[in-house]
C-alpha cells in the first residue's frame, strides 16, 4: 500500500507536467501551418512594403542597383490622373457590387430561410455561380454583354427598354455596369448563403410571440430580424468589401481594364505596372494602397469576430 506513494525506483524520468506536455504537443501540430503562413505570406508582405519605397524596375532588379526613394512612388501615383481614375473605379465597383449583391442576396436569404422542400437543393445550386472559375464567368460576361449577338441587348430590345444595341463593353460609360453585374452574379449566392445561416439561427419562438402580440410582418422584420442579424449583416458586408475590393480576374479577362481604363481597378493596375511595364516598385506601391484599404475594413471584421469568440 505504501509502495504506491513512493517514487518508482528503477526508471527515473524527468517528469514534465502533463499540462506543459499537452501545450507542446499542440504547438507541434500548429507550428508548420503557422510558420508556412508567416513565411509564404508575411515575408512577401514585408518585402512588398520595402519595395514600395524603392525604385525597383527590371534593370535595377537584375543589376541590384535599386535604392530607397522615400515616398516618391506614392507621390507619383496620387498625382497621376490614371491612378486617380483607377482608385475611383475601384470604389465605384466595390460599392456598386456591395449594394446590389447585398440587397438581392438578403431578399433571397429571407426566402431560403423558410422551410420548404426545394429550399436546400436550390440554395445550393445557386452557389455554382460563386464557386466556378472567375475566368469562365468573365468570358461569359464578355459574351452576354456583346453588342450584336449579346443576350442582354437581345433581351432589352425585345422588352423595348432600349431601341438600339448598347455597346456595353466598348463604351467607357457602360463597361463598369457590365462588370458590376457579373460580379453581383458571383456575389449574390455568397451573401445569400451567409445571411440564410444567420436567419436560421433566429429562434422561431421570438417571431411566434411577436405575432401573438400583433406585430405586422414589416415590424417583425424591422424590430426582430434586422437587430438580431446585425452581426451577420456586418460580417457579410465587410467580407464582401474585402472580396470585391481586391478584384482582378474578372476585369483581367472580361475587359482587360478597358475601354480606356474605364474598368481598371487597383488589382489590375498593379499587375500592369509590375508585369507589363516592369515597374515593380510602382506595382508594389499600388499593392500597398490596396492593402491599407483592406486592412482598415479587415480590422473591423476581426474585432467583430473577436467579439463573437468571447
Amino acid at each position: 500500500m505504501w509502495g504506491c506513494l513512493q517514487a518508482p525506483k528503477g526508471r527515473r524520468r524527468i517528469s514534465i507536467p502533463i499540462a506543459t506536455k499537452m501545450k507542446l504537443e499542440g504547438l507541434l501540430f500548429v507550428l508548420p501551418g503557422f510558420l508556412y503562413t508567416v513565411i509564404v505570406l508575411g515575408y512577401p508582405l514585408v518585402y512588398n512594403i520595402l519595395l514600395s519605397f524603392q525604385n525597383m524596375d527590371v534593370r535595377s532588379f537584375v543589376r541590384g542597383t535599386s535604392m530607397f526613394i522615400g515616398l516618391a512612388n506614392f507621390k507619383a501615383l496620387f498625382s497621376n490622373p490614371t491612378f486617380q481614375l483607377v482608385l475611383k473605379n475601384t470604389l465605384v465597383f466595390t460599392i456598386g457590387s456591395l449594394v446590389f449583391q447585398f440587397t438581392i442576396g438578403f431578399a433571397l436569404a429571407l426566402l431560403f430561410a423558410k422551410r420548404f422542400r426545394l429550399a436546400g437543393p436550390i440554395r445550393g445550386s445557386l452557389l455554382i455561380a460563386y464557386m466556378m472559375p472567375m475566368s469562365v464567368t468573365a468570358m461569359l460576361g464578355k459574351n452576354i454583354f456583346g453588342v450584336s449577338a449579346g443576350l442582354i441587348n437581345d433581351l432589352l430590345l425585345k422588352i423595348g427598354l432600349i431601341h438600339r444595341p448598347v455597346e456595353w463593353l466598348v463604351s467607357t460609360s457602360t463597361a463598369m455596369i457590365a462588370v458590376v453585374a457579373m460580379n453581383c452574379w458571383v456575389g449574390i449566392p455568397f451573401n445569400m448563403l451567409i445571411l440564410t445561416s444567420g436567419l436560421t439561427n433566429i429562434s422561431e419562438s421570438i417571431y411566434d410571440s411577436a405575432a401573438v402580440d400583433g406585430a405586422t410582418a414589416w415590424q417583425r422584420f424591422r424590430y426582430i430580424t434586422l437587430p438580431l442579424m446585425r452581426p451577420a449583416i456586418l460580417a457579410v458586408l465587410m467580407l464582401g468589401f474585402i472580396y470585391t475590393f481586391k478584384a482582378f480576374d474578372l476585369m483581367f479577362v472580361m475587359t482587360a481594364g478597358g475601354p480606356l481604363n474605364a474598368t481598371d481597378v487597383l488589382g489590375t493596375y498593379a499587375y500592369q505596372l509590375s508585369f507589363t511595364k516592369h515597374q515593380f516598385s510602382m506595382g508594389a506601391a499600388t499593392g500597398m494602397i490596396l492593402f491599407c484599404c483592406l486592412l482598415v475594413v479587415g480590422l473591423f471584421y476581426l474585432r467583430l469576430i473577436a467579439a463573437e469568440e468571447d
Binding site: F61, I122, G124, M134
Partner: protein
C-alpha cells in the same frame, strides 16, 4: 388552443410551401440562365454563332465545338497542368493545414490568439497584392517556371481557410474520445491519424474539394509565375479561340463548360457539405 388550430395551420403551411417552391424554381431558372447559355452555346454551329440573329436554342445541334477542344494537343496540356496544380496545392494545403486546425481546435496552445489572428489576416491578402513581391522572391529562388511557384502561393490561401473551417469540426469531437484513445495506449500522432481524422471525415472531404477547386480556379498566380505556354492551366488559356478566326464563342463555351465541370460535379455529390464548409469558413458561428 394551439392544438385546435394545428389542422388549419397545416394546410396553410402546405399552400405556403407550394408557393415558395414555385418562386424558388423561377429564381433558380433566371439566376442560372447564364449556365444554360454557356452549355447551349457550346453546341451551336459556327454558322449559327456568326449569324446576326441570336438563337436561344441550337438549331443544328453539333458536337464540333467540343471536338475542336478535345482534338487539340494544347488543350490536354493545359488540362494536365490544371490537374497538377489543383492536386499539388490540395495535398500541400491539407498536409500542413489539417494538423494546424487540429492543434488550434483541440489544444490550449500558447499564443493561440495571435496565431488565429495571423490565419484570419492572411485570408485578406489577395493575389493582386502578393503577385509582385512573390514574383521577385520566386525569381531569386529559381522557382519561376515550375509548378511549385503557383502551388506554394495558392496553398498560402487555402491553409488559413482549412484551419478556420476544420478548427470547429475538431472542436466538436467529444473530449471522451481522446481520453479513450490515450487509455488504449495511442500516442498523440496515432490518435490524430486513427481517431480524429476519421471522426471528421466529412470535414476533410469538404476542405479537400474546396482546396482542389481553389487550385483549379486559380488564374493570377499560374499565369504570372509560369509564362511558358506548356506550363499554363486551362484558366489562363481561355481566350485562345479569340484571335484566330474572330471569336469562336461556341468553342470558348465548350472550353468553359469543361472548366466548370468539376465545380458542378462537386455540387452534385457533396452539396450539403460544401455549403456547410463555405458558411463556416466565412463567419464563425
Amino acid at each position: 388552443m394551439k392544438m385546435r388550430f394545428r389542422n388549419m395551420l397545416g394546410s396553410r403551411e402546405a399552400r405556403g410551401n407550394a408557393f415558395y417552391n414555385i418562386i424558388s424554381v423561377i429564381i433558380a431558372v433566371i439566376f442560372l440562365f447564364p449556365i444554360y447559355w454557356l452549355l447551349m452555346m457550346s453546341f451551336k454551329s459556327d454558322a449559327e454563332i456568326f449569324s446576326p440573329i441570336l438563337t436561344y436554342f441550337p438549331h443544328d445541334f453539333t458536337l464540333e465545338p467540343w471536338l475542336l477542344n478535345i482534338q487539340d494537343k494544347e488543350f490536354f496540356m493545359s488540362l494536365r497542368n490544371s490537374c497538377i496544380i489543383a492536386t499539388m496545392s490540395m495535398c500541400l494545403s491539407m498536409i500542413i493545414g489539417i494538423p494546424a486546425a487540429y492543434g488550434m481546435g483541440r489544444y490550449k496552445v500558447p499564443g493561440k490568439r495571435v496565431m488565429l489572428l495571423a490565419f484570419l489576416v492572411s485570408q485578406m491578402l489577395p493575389p493582386s497584392l502578393m503577385l509582385t513581391p512573390m514574383y521577385l522572391i520566386f525569381n531569386k529562388m529559381g522557382l519561376l517556371g515550375t509548378f511549385w511557384a503557383p502551388v506554394v502561393a495558392i496553398s498560402s490561401g487555402s491553409i488559413p481557410f482549412i484551419v478556420v473551417i476544420l478548427r470547429s469540426y475538431f472542436n466538436s469531437i467529444p473530449r471522451s474520445l481522446d481520453d479513450a484513445a490515450r487509455i488504449d495506449g495511442c500516442n498523440a500522432l496515432q490518435s490524430f491519424f486513427r481517431i480524429m481524422i476519421p471522426a471528421i471525415k466529412t470535414g476533410i472531404i469538404t476542405v479537400a474539394v474546396i482546396s482542389f477547386l481553389g487550385g483549379w480556379n486559380d488564374l493570377a498566380y499560374s499565369m504570372t509565375f509560369n509564362v511558358m505556354p506548356e506550363m499554363r492551366p486551362l484558366t489562363a488559356n481561355i481566350y485562345k479561340f479569340q484571335s484566330k478566326y474572330g471569336t469562336r464563342w461556341n468553342a470558348i463555351m465548350a472550353y468553359g463548360a469543361i472548366l466548370v465541370a468539376p465545380v458542378v460535379l462537386a455540387f452534385i455529390f457533396l452539396q450539403k457539405h460544401i455549403v456547410g464548409g463555405l458558411t463556416a469558413g466565412a463567419v464563425k458561428e
